[in-house]
């Protein structure tokens, strides 16, 4: 690796301030630190540091996303096979899906990283790693037939309006990946809802009416409880849906990785599930329509609930920051998901809106938790003063 290091060292002066390519300093720095962990030593404070850094943390999330991604690719081929009756082997299904998903991933990363690099350059900051995860989350929550230009546009919107205007990774209020989905949802609703977009190629063929490509959520919203797939199918993910969200099992594997490595908060995941179950049971008791009678456990398997709980609600930047706040935030996210799903027929996927809604409220929750801490401290001081 000496050879590579020598090349970088030779190129470095040109990219320093005042060098010929000084204006590309952040870009150069990003690539250099990608290849080599920098030789920066501590200047103040502690002399030793934990070996974990943001690149590593983000990579862990990507690893946790892999099961959902790989299964999603296979499932695209499988759903195509079910809908069109094309004969495919397991590998052919995977390759079919891979070729469908790859362009979406490429578009998401190229657009997003392009903007990140430009923004870092303008601010003269180091390039942040946040988009490594966002760039993978965006394809996973898109329908497979989403036009590429739309993915690109949504990514640009999410990164610029959702993140960079607030100051970049760590400063944003809303989860950028969900913002990208919300953008398409409100700007081009026909491309992200309905029964035609979830199976590759279905939109273009009006021929097959026998098979419906509707997701379980769509069936449930329409009150067609008899058409819901079996819990078994939903758990393993043999159902139509966004690319990465169908298999609860694959997402659970990701959840285990995140919890075990300590990267994502188990408190949020647990309380989110708790909130959904509690709301579901309450609705069961009230009753009224078939959807309200649906077992709450079905809610955990349908749509993006599992994916949102594990990968979106736990975003450390946009979620609640305090331990107590995390319990409240997770519970309310689960609760609102079920309420939106059941009571708002216009938005079958409640998870996206519930998380974005709670993103907006997370700072408020934290504010009250921190205020309680402050009040405790003030009271202690007053008690002392009285004595």
């Amino acid at each position: 690796m000496k050879f590579l290091r020598n090349i970088i060292d030779r190129m470095k002066p040109a990219f320093e301030k005042g060098g010929r390519f000084g204006f590309l300093h952040s870009t150069f720095e990003a690539f250099e630190s990608f290849v080599f962990v920098p030789n920066t030593t501590s200047k103040s404070g502690v002399h030793i540091h934990d070996s974990n850094d943001l690149k590593r943390t983000m990579t862990t999330v990507i690893v946790a996303l892999l099961p959902a991604l790989l299964f999603g690719m296979w499932n695209i081929g499988y759903q195509r096979h079910l809908a069109f009756g094309e004969a495919m082997t397991g590998w052919e299904m995977f390759i079919f899906g891979f070729l469908k998903v790859l362009p979406i991933i490429v578009v998401s990363y190229v657009v997003g990283l392009g903007i990140e690099f430009t923004a870092a350059q303008i601010r003269k900051h180091e390039v942040n790693e946040g988009f490594l995860v966002t760039g993978m989350l965006i394809p996973l929550i898109m329908p497979v037939d989403c036009p590429l230009w739309m993915v690109g546009l949504a990514t640009a919107f999410a990164v610029i309006i959702g993140k960079e205007v607030f100051g970049g990774t760590g400063m944003n209020i809303f989860n950028p990946a969900l913002l990208a989905r919300a953008f398409i949802f409100f700007a081009y609703p026909s491309h992200i809802s309905g029964g035609k977009v979830w199976i590759a190629g279905m939109k273009d063929t009006s021929a097959i009416d026998a098979v419906t490509g509707a997701t379980p959520l769509a069936h449930a919203t329409a009150g067609e409880m008899d058409k819901l797939p079996s819990a078994y199918d939903m758990f393993f993910g043999f159902i139509p849906g966004s690319i990465g969200e169908t298999s609860t099992l694959a997402i659970l594997i990701g959840a285990l990785i995140l919890i075990y490595t300590g990267v994502a908060s188990w408190k949020i995941m647990l309380s989110c599930v708790g909130g959904a179950l509690a709301t579901g049971f309450v609705l069961n008791i009230i009753g009224g329509n078939p959807y309200m009678h649906l077992s709450p456990f079905y809610h955990l398997l349908m749509g993006g609930f599992a994916f949102g709980t594990v990968f979106m609600a736990t975003d450390p930047v946009t979620g609640a920051q305090t331990a107590t706040g995390k319990w409240i935030y997770g519970f309310l996210t689960g609760m609102f998901t079920i309420l939106i799903r059941v009571f708002n027929q216009g938005y079958p996927e409640g998870m996206m809106l519930a998380i974005l809604f709670m993103n907006a409220f997370a700072p408020l929750i934290d504010h009250y938790v921190v205020t309680a801490n402050i009040r405790k401290r003030m009271k202690r001081g007053l008690r002392k003063a009285v004595q």
């Binding site: 690796m1 590579l4 290091r5 630190s33 290849v35 080599f36 962990v37 920098p38 030789n39 920066t40 030593t41 501590s42 200047k43 103040s44 404070g45 502690v46 002399h47 030793i48 540091h49 934990d50 070996s51 974990n52 850094d53 943001l54 690149k55 590593r56 943390t57 990579t59 862990t60 180091e126 942040n128 790693e129 946040g130 100051g167 970049g168 990774t169 760590g170 400063m171 075990y260 490595t261 300590g262 990267v263 908060s265 450390p316 930047v317 920051q321 305090t322 331990a323 995390k326 921190v370 801490n373 402050i374 405790k376 401290r377 003030m378 202690r380 001081g381 002392k384 003063a385």
Partner: protein
Amino acid sequence: MSKVIKIRRGLDISLKGIAEKVLSKTAKVASYAVKPVDFPHLVPKLVVREGDAVLAGAPLFVDKYNPEVRYASPVSGTVAAIVRGDKRRLLEVVVTPADEQQYLQHPVADLAACSCEQVISLMLESGVWPFLKQRPFGIVAHPADCPKAIFISGFDTAPLAPDIDYVLTGEGEAFQKGIDVLRKLCDKIYLGLNNQLAAISIFRKTKGVETNTFIGPHPAGNVGVQIYHISPLNKGEKVWTIEPQHIVSLGRLFLKGIYDVSKVIALVGSEVKKPRYYRMIAGAAVSCVEEHIIKTNHPRYVSGNVLTGANIGANGHLGFYDNLLTVIPEGDKYEFLGWLNPLRLHRYSVSRSSLSWIFPRKEYTLDTNINGGVRAFVVNGEYEKVLPMDIYPVYLLKAILASDIDKMEQLGIYEVLEEDLALCEFVCTSKIPVQQILRKGIGEIYEELKIRN
């Protein structure tokens, strides 16, 4: 009332090079220094010039705003250099020792007959006063103040820290005398101990103090954490803290009438051939232990522990309050795709994101590389796991970055010093300079209160 307090949150970092319990002698010490930078927010006023002859205990500089607080020369000899830094800031007053040590002799007072004022005036005059540190702010105590209590931590949990119990062996008489002196200043004295005290420990015989036992990982041995669990600091309150070895020096002053700051220093770290204890005088040049250092890995000399100490270089001098010298390798090397490599078994991490947790090592050799780049706050909940206080560190740091003094007070800045948040800086994924930010906040409040008074 003795209490047993269990500390759950924290982290013990196990490093290579802990000192063996053997007391050795150093080579001849070339010079000694007193460094005004060891005393936060001190504005020093020199009272000697280069070339002046001084006795051990004679003042080198005083506090410009409280000239009665003197900072004394640890040895007798000649003032060799007055080292200044940027903007002529006074960094070091260096003294070359004479062959024969001569002390400035003070009358040996009968402590029982002394009034509080007499004790204070002798302490000020002899130069031992700066032993007393005040919280909040971590500054040298103000002689006119009356503290709520004096706190002493009888053990150190920091990485590679010396065993204070061992260090004080044979100093029982002076230690008790020092405690008696402190009781003249304040009748509430708390001594924090851990549960691994040796049967012959001098702490067992110490009278006139209230002992509490703390069990748990670092920072359980930090006096700030102990204060928090016994009697947390509120706004307007002041407590004083003092190191056990300084209590011994204080006792010697009242036993023999001299300023004797000789103490036992632990020489530790992975770059030390045989880590062990050395008897030295405070402020000694570290070049006296040079022969024990492995020089192949570009060593860094840290006066103090690796979490809070100062990088003093191979030609530096020990800090005033420090009881150990840690030598670790500089990490000024690049690591190819280091962040991607899942194995990195030689690196330590509290998170399990690299696989080093599968093969935990008993002792790690860590270098000074920060292992990444500085980022904004992204990951949350990390700091709380290593801070055993009911404080929201990230909110506190953000209040400091915003210079919001009211918020800093409300979030508990008076209860912490840099050492208490040092572990937060160690575990930080975003490599945020926590201690530097905290000191900035403490400094702002200190200046603000000074103006108001």
